[in-house]
Symmetry: C2
Subunit: 215 residues, 2 copies
């Protein structure tokens, strides 16, 4: 397989949209497996994922040729290959910065763990403020952020600070070794090329919908 030819770290250059679709395929495959289905055609998997089957075949071609003509894909093998590629086959440590309303909500959300992301610790300027009892992670003062990230080899961070503080926190995270940031702060972050930022702005998503519902 193309992906393994040069060892684990020589990953193929896959566009971001393809990586998103691989996540969707995985969820469809897991549902198939839960229903006792062990092989799937590209047409059936494409249908379940809401894409056209040439798109699916193109996306899976990054793994090299492994589907059997007339038989389709091995469900378990494909799940494993995608997990290996995405790096979700092992627990990924994450820190969360900014424990306000949204940060608190995300800390008490159990969905991340289920997907293999462990939010180890959170950081806030008011680290000792009284919070929701369902938050079980330790909350540290901001001064400990850089050291903690470096010490624990954390590469991913969830950012929920106010927009005016976001860039400063990002600089600190990047200096400490973080290369992936899920940004909930409604602002544009400047990062070096090797750092990836995924922006999730729920208010902006709602505003966007608000425009389209008035058409």
């Amino acid at each position: 397989m193309a992906v393994k030819k040069n060892g684990r770290n020589a990953r193929p250059e896959i566009p971001r949209k393809t990586v998103y679709r691989l996540s969707i395929y995985t969820r469809c495959l897991q549902r198939l497996l839960a229903n006792g289905i062990h092989t799937v055609s590209s047409e059936a998997l494409a249908g379940a994922a809401g894409v056209k089957s040439p798109q699916l075949r193109k996306d899976l071609a990054y793994f090299g040729q492994f589907g059997t003509r007339g038989l389709g894909y091995d469900v378990e093998q494909l799940i494993q290959m995608i997990a290996d590629l995405l790096g979700t086959d092992h627990l990924q440590p994450v820190v969360l910065v900014g424990v306000g309303n949204l940060g608190t909500a995300l800390l008490s959300y159990r969905g991340f763990e289920k997907e293999g992301f462990g939010v180890l610790a959170a950081f806030d300027v008011q680290h000792d403020r009284q919070r929701d009892k369902r938050v079980t992670q330790p909350i540290f003062p901001m001064e400990k952020l850089g050291h903690y990230v470096a010490e624990n080899h954390v590469r991913m961070a969830i950012l929920c600070v106010p927009p005016e503080e976001a860039q400063e926190v990002v600089n600190e995270l990047v200096d400490a070794g973080v290369t992936g940031i899920m940004n909930f702060a409604p602002t544009v972050l400047q990062v070096p090329d090797e750092v990836t930022v995924n922006n999730v702005n729920m208010a902006i998503e709602l505003e966007n919908l608000s425009y389209f519902i008035q058409q």
Copy 2:
């Protein structure tokens, strides 16, 4: 102005990405206003929003010509025009369906209200289950969903149900008159052309980052 020529409901056809950028511009403009700045050049606003200034000028051209050469844009006027276009100049009623971990977290999140979206009520199959005390909205059984949406002229919904239930709930929402859905369920929804779905999948965003941090 092009936008008002045909009355409020004859909105120009604006691409989704442009609508997203308008939301970003609004936030930058609000920060300028808070700092006592009342006019801004396209270069300065573009810089604050992290876009190139030809892009900004193209985006704002949907409003017709209103910047004054050499003086720039009137900050307050531009905020008002964008709010009018996005429909955020009045409170937008929203329902939330599926009050599990994530739904509960979103109900207790105060950020939506601040942006002009009022989550009026929530719906769940287990509507009378004990929940977080910070949730102040009423939680109704699923049977009341369609009637409530129609009765209260709700056009927007936040969907946090399990993926296997999502399509059925969406059909009901659409039948009752919802035309904008913010979907947190990790699945692909089928909707008529006039309905807009914005997918927000936090686990998928994390998985996506997980791939890129390993490059």
